[in-house]
């Protein structure tokens, strides 16, 4: 294999994992825009997506498409409950407290999953076989195409929702200014609830499409969460196109670093990037530069 096709190979596998980082990063952005908090349970949504799909599809033998929607729905309900329960009923609305509540929630979700599903990693077969396709000398798994396709459609759908529908516009108004949104009669509480539900379903989609390529286990959430967050920071925290660019870029860089330098420290790269971005360009690549310094 020549160097060029090797690099191409790494880029393709990087874009594959990068797509899921992008979905996770969008989830972070949505909740951040509505509430200003970092939702630590985002990674757990992804884990629940993967494990949920296995439970519906492999254990309960539900047809794949139905299992997909059932999983997305169930994880969306988890997001819904997270907001309706602890976040809404918290006695203190300080950001610090709310952030730590999501940390607590993520531990609870992780702990419950360990009790229910055990510690062993599980997986389910790819959506359409495992016969690799050849593309300019690089091997592409059909699952990668599914991952790209689904990510692109989700991003397009979200873009449409945010730009064209009333709910989407209301959510953007809340993100721009919560108080003004409240003043013009937007039900801010419902928008916050919606953003948690939406983040839950996005996390679930990421988990479902990723699991056949890797595996799913109860403790996968933290790592994916941190990477999604790094991707969001890289692209510009709170910005949707930034989340996509950041996710894909992080995935590609990670894959190149793992392939050309060392795979043992692959996971360290995301964090290193996170710190570098915070050092030199805290508003991210596509950020508006309106990040407030205190």
């Amino acid at each position: 294999m020549s160097l060029a096709s090797m690099v191409l190979q790494f880029i393709i596998s990087g874009l594959t994992s990068g797509s899921t980082y992008a979905l996770i990063a969008i989830g972070f952005s949505i909740i951040h825009n509505a509430t200003g908090i970092v939702n630590f349970a985002q990674g757990e949504f992804v884990m629940l997506g993967g494990i949920g799909m296995i439970s519906f599809y492999s254990f309960a033998k539900v047809p794949m498409l139905l299992a997909f929607f059932l999983t997305v729905f169930s994880v969306a309900v988890v997001g819904f409950l997270l907001e309706r329960g602890p976040i809404r009923h918290a006695k203190s609305k300080e950001i610090l407290v709310l952030v730590m509540i999501t940390v607590g929630a993520s531990i609870v979700i992780k702990g419950l999953s360990m009790v229910f599903w055990g510690k062993n990693p599980m997986t389910f077969p790819p959506f359409s076989g495992e016969t690799p396709l050849l593309f300019l000398g690089a091997v592409v798994m059909p699952q990668s195409l599914w991952i790209f396709g689904i990510t692109v459609s989700v991003v397009v759908a979200l873009h449409y929702k945010y730009r064209r529908t009333m709910t989407g516009k209301a959510m953007r108004a809340v993100a721009a200014s919560r108080r003004s949104a409240l003043l013009i009669g937007i039900p801010v509480d419902r928008m916050i609830l919606l953003s948690f539900t939406l983040s839950g379903s996005l996390g679930a989609v990421a988990g479902i499409i990723l699991t056949p390529m890797t595996t799913a286990s109860y403790d996968m959430g933290v790592m994916l969460g941190v990477k999604g967050f790094s991707a969001a920071i890289l692209g510009g925290y709170g910005s949707m196109p930034g989340a996509v660019v950041g996710g894909l870029l992080l995935g590609v860089m990670e894959s190149l670093a793992a392939g050309l330098i060392s795979s043992e420290y692959k996971d360290a790269l995301a964090f290193l990037l996170l710190l570098l971005v915070l050092f030199f360009r805290p508003s991210g690549l596509l950020g508006m530069g309106r990040l407030r310094r205190v």
Binding site: G36, I37, V38, F40, P86, H89, A90, K91, S92, E94, I95, L96, V97, V99, M100, I101, V103, G104, A105, S106, I107, V108, I109, K110, G111, L112, M114, V115, V222, M223, V226, F229, S230, I233, E264, Y265, D267, A268, A270, F271, L272, L274, L275, L278, F279, P282, L291, R292, R293, V294
Partner: protein, 324 residues
């Protein structure tokens, strides 16, 4: 330090130093020794959470850096124990400082994620650099603590040493928050913009607090390594960071006595829950979430407040009764 705090501290110290007289079981002493170290880490972290309004999910990494630096330098390279601990504290403090510079300047909670990521990296390095750290199987044969010719080689000797340090750190911190620096920190925690307007260099305070907090964790880590004489990566995973944060929040942000309470409660609790080890993660999460939802100011101050209110209302009732 107020007169009241002085009395509490003296009573607390007396209690602490009398306990071992009644304890015959070395295991109990060991649990208490670990508690003493946890108190040091928790107080350090509470200064950061309660006064800088920032949370670190990477204190296990700082604790681990102290432990591994001390362990490796003394065992593999034959450094003397005491100075190595100080060196480890300085290195860890510097690392924290470097992480703090970019993240603490920004509004929002970047430090949480940055420290969480840092914790994961340190953990990966402990496992991957196996030629230096011993990898997943751990690092053994660390020399015990000694001062001059005196070797701290029993749980009982260690008990007095650790608790002296632990009470010392509490004493220093209680003094610190009543000093000029402490008042600046309190202003910072109430309203950062106002504090800045009053001429407090909030950025510098936050970064220094973070570095000091990491340094305390490193000190505790070094002591831990020389006490147990064996360290392995599992001790320094994110779960320990979360445990420490839970101890702070259960005790109450900014309440140093609360930290002592939180550290005691959550270090001793698992000892009573041995049968349900698989649930320990879940229980920690539930405690963390429950306390934050219902007692955001901490379980200890929360209960205390409820009790005071009740006493006041009882007093008011009896006073009212006399009037009629």
């Amino acid at each position: 330090m107020g007169k009241r705090n002085k009395i509490y501290l003296i009573l607390y110290a007396l209690g602490i130093f009398v306990i071992p007289v009644f304890l015959r079981n070395n295991y109990h002493l060991m649990v208490l020794n670990v508690t003493a170290l946890n108190i040091v880490v928790v107080i350090g972290l509470n200064l950061l959470i309660g006064y800088a309004g920032q949370i670190s999910l990477g204190h296990a990494a700082f604790f681990g850096l102290g432990a591994y630096l001390s362990g490796i330098l003394t065992t593999t390279y034959g450094f003397p124990v005491g100075p190595t601990m100080i060196l480890a504290v300085l290195i860890t403090g510097t690392v924290a400082y470097v992480i703090g510079i970019p993240t603490l300047k920004l509004e929002g909670h970047y430090l949480v994620m940055a420290t969480l990521g840092f914790n994961i990296i340190v953990y990966i390095m402990m496992i991957q650099l196996d030629r230096v750290t011993g990898g997943p199987s751990g690092f053994a044969g660390i020399p015990p603590l000694r001062i001059g010719g005196f070797v701290f080689n029993s749980d009982r000797k260690i008990y007095y040493l650790f608790w002296t340090i632990s009470v010392g750190v509490l004493l220093l911190s209680l003094n610190l928050i009543r000093s000029r620096v402490g008042r600046a920190m309190a202003a910072l925690s109430h309203n950062e913009v106002a504090a800045k307007c009053a001429g407090i260099d909030t950025e510098k305070y936050k970064i220094n607090l973070f570095a000091c907090s990491a340094a305390l964790a490193s000190l505790a880590g070094s002591l831990y390594a020389h006490y147990i004489t064996f360290i392995s990566p599992g001790t320094f995973s994110i779960f320990y960071s979360l445990q420490i944060v839970t101890m702070v929040l259960v005790g109450g942000m900014g309440s140093l006595w609360g930290s002592v309470f939180g550290a005691f409660l959550l270090t001793l609790l698992p000892e009573f829950l041995h049968g349900v080890k698989d649930f320990s993660v879940l229980i920690h999460g539930l405690v963390l979430m429950g306390v934050l939802v219902f007692f955001p100011q901490g379980l200890f101050p929360g209960i205390l407040q409820a009790w005071m209110r009740r006493r006041e209302s009882v007093q008011a009732e009896t006073a009212g009764g006399k009037g009629t």
